[in-house]
Subunit: 348 residues, 2 copies
């Protein structure tokens, strides 16, 4: 279970948790999943198997028929950002191709026939795009894409027509949140033609000051133009966030920042029951404390891992069964205590 | 600097922090302090010195003219419950006799010429009264009291006429507070002719679930009758508090009690700035955790000590200077962290 975006620290990793590029692709001469009959959907899934074989030339991958994967495992995949929430349900002809280190995932029969996704730690728009492009080329060497020379790739939803590409960066912005500048910054982002989402995509709320920023437009601009624009805006946000963090450790503010950060640490290492939302808010504070070098003996990535591992499906997978929410809250608190304690000892 | 009531654990010490008996006494043929002239007040103070000498036969005592004691030190005395808030001000002819272990203190020229106080840890009404009575006899062997055979000791305020005695117990009632039964219990206390006060006497607010309960009447009943009545009501409250605590660690409740207690511990051991009020509330939770044997490696009395030592004057005495409240809050948090850490290590 690799999940390299969670376990590794990438460039600008103090602010950018991960970079994602996804390509929406459809096969020629087959209807989009929403209107395909059972037989056509099956054909799509079979092509997926073929693609998985081909990708074996590039890296070790595994092919899943999601109907054969149990519900809890599908939810775990979703919590790790490997598949979308929609892809965990109505699994009849749904499939997934997943590389061993989990940086490549291809959903089959989601909204489009294929959703190719590459996910890297830190800010790596060029590298992420490079690998996505390579995967795309390999796929295209064994199947025919629905493609129009005038407008580009054809997709189920018009917003994806053109490049079919969406680039996203996942940002941790506790500094801007603390100096009350976050909503101003997020509003300005949409004026640059970009979209802000919570941790789990469209419609999801943001907890723990984590936001995903991605391009809105996929028609009329090349992939590299779009990603360059995203990179520029991201650089701006990074700079604002760094300034905010600097302010937080200046003379007057420092004691209050320290207080808030260490209180969060004290609660995480002592609480006996905790909701996901509270845990994310507190983990955000502790991660900020590490980035500001106020907390010194914790592994940065531990926090990125915990942000995912404290989710409901992950917790239930540990116990091998479905749990009522009171027991999840209890298990979550216990897991966090163990992990924070363990790491403190390891590094000291 | 003894202060045995703080440093020792007495009988029923999980609920009763301390027992106090004080006797209001006045000298014959001298007006009460409020109406005495400078010369008369001086005579009273001189008699105080004589009394101190006599008490030397019983135990080591020190005589203070409060005008010669600096303000900070007087406030420290007040925070330790050795003198009243009023006795820290307008110190011209005010005096204090204090035993080395600080269980006997006699204020001179407070509201009455003498306020004899004995303060013991835990529930020790009989013992406390015994020592107060012995001190009273010694004093009477060298001075003449204002006494009427019909009504008893004469005092500045009519509420103290008669025995001049007030017995008090200082109770920690976090269990009743948590199950929302505290106000019901406190209301019933006044129906028994007793008075409930906060930690620092009349008009002071209660923080950290600490209450002082004492008799209202000093006329028409003997000292032992009054103290027996107080003992009975205290036994009732102790029993209710024990039941409440038992409920808190029963099946359903236990996890929430543990959670609250350990969160308090986490905040106390990590916060960088803290008000007195917050510290008292959190210390109350931690002390409950020790009493419920949920927290095992902390010294009980540490909490009783900290409840006093985190007060403004104590903190300023450590630094040897007056401090703005932001710095006191910071020093308070730091002191608490150090003390809790130290004790955890000592016992492990």
């Amino acid at each position: 279970m690799g999940c390299s975006w969670m376990k590794k620290e990438g460039p600008e990793g103090d602010i950018v948790l991960g970079t994602r590029v996804r390509l929406a692709r459809n096969f020629a001469k087959l209807p989009f999943p929403a209107t395909a009959n059972r037989d056509q959907a099956k054909q799509v899934l079979q092509k997926g198997e073929l693609i998985a074989e081909k990708l074996g030339e590039l890296t070790d991958v595994k092919f899943y028929r999601l109907a054969e994967v149990d519900k809890l495992e599908r939810e775990v995949m979703m919590e790790k950002h490997l598949i979308s929430p929609a892809h965990t349900e109505n699994t009849a002809s749904k499939g997934l191709i997943l590389s061993l280190n989990e940086d490549i995932s291809i959903m089959i029969n989601e909204e489009d026939h294929l959703r190719i996704q590459v996910l890297f730690p830190g800010l790596q728009l060029r590298e992420t795009w490079g690998l996505a492009n390579k995967v795309d080329d390999l796929v295209e060497s064994v199947v025919d894409y629905a493609f129009s020379p005038n407008i580009g790739y054809l997709t189920a939803c018009p917003t994806n027509v053109g490049t079919g590409m969406r680039g996203s960066v996942m940002l941790h912005l506790p500094g801007l949140a603390r100096i009350q500048q976050l909503s101003k910054v997020l509003t300005s982002i949409s004026q640059f033609g970009l979209v802000v989402r919570g941790l789990y995509g469209e419609g999801s709320k943001s907890f723990g000051n984590i936001y995903q920023i991605s391009n809105q437009v996929s028609l009329g601009y090349s992939e590299t133009d779009v990603l360059e624009h995203l990179a520029k805006v991201t650089a701006q946000i990074i700079s604002s966030e760094r300034q905010a963090r600097q302010y937080l450790i200046e003379k007057q503010q420092r004691i209050y920042s320290e207080d808030q950060i260490f209180r969060a640490y004290g609660l995480l290492t002592n609480a006996r029951t905790m909701t996901t939302q509270e845990a994310l808010e507190l983990l955000s504070s502790v991660r900020l404390g590490i980035d500001l070098e106020l907390i010194k003996d914790l592994n940065k990535n531990l926090l990125k891992e915990l942000m995912v591992e404290i989710r409901a499906a992950h917790l239930q997978k540990i116990m091998g069964q479905s749990l009522p929410h009171e027991e999840r809250d209890r298990l979550r608190a216990s897991l966090i205590r163990d992990r924070l304690r363990q790491k403190t000892t390891d590094d000291s």
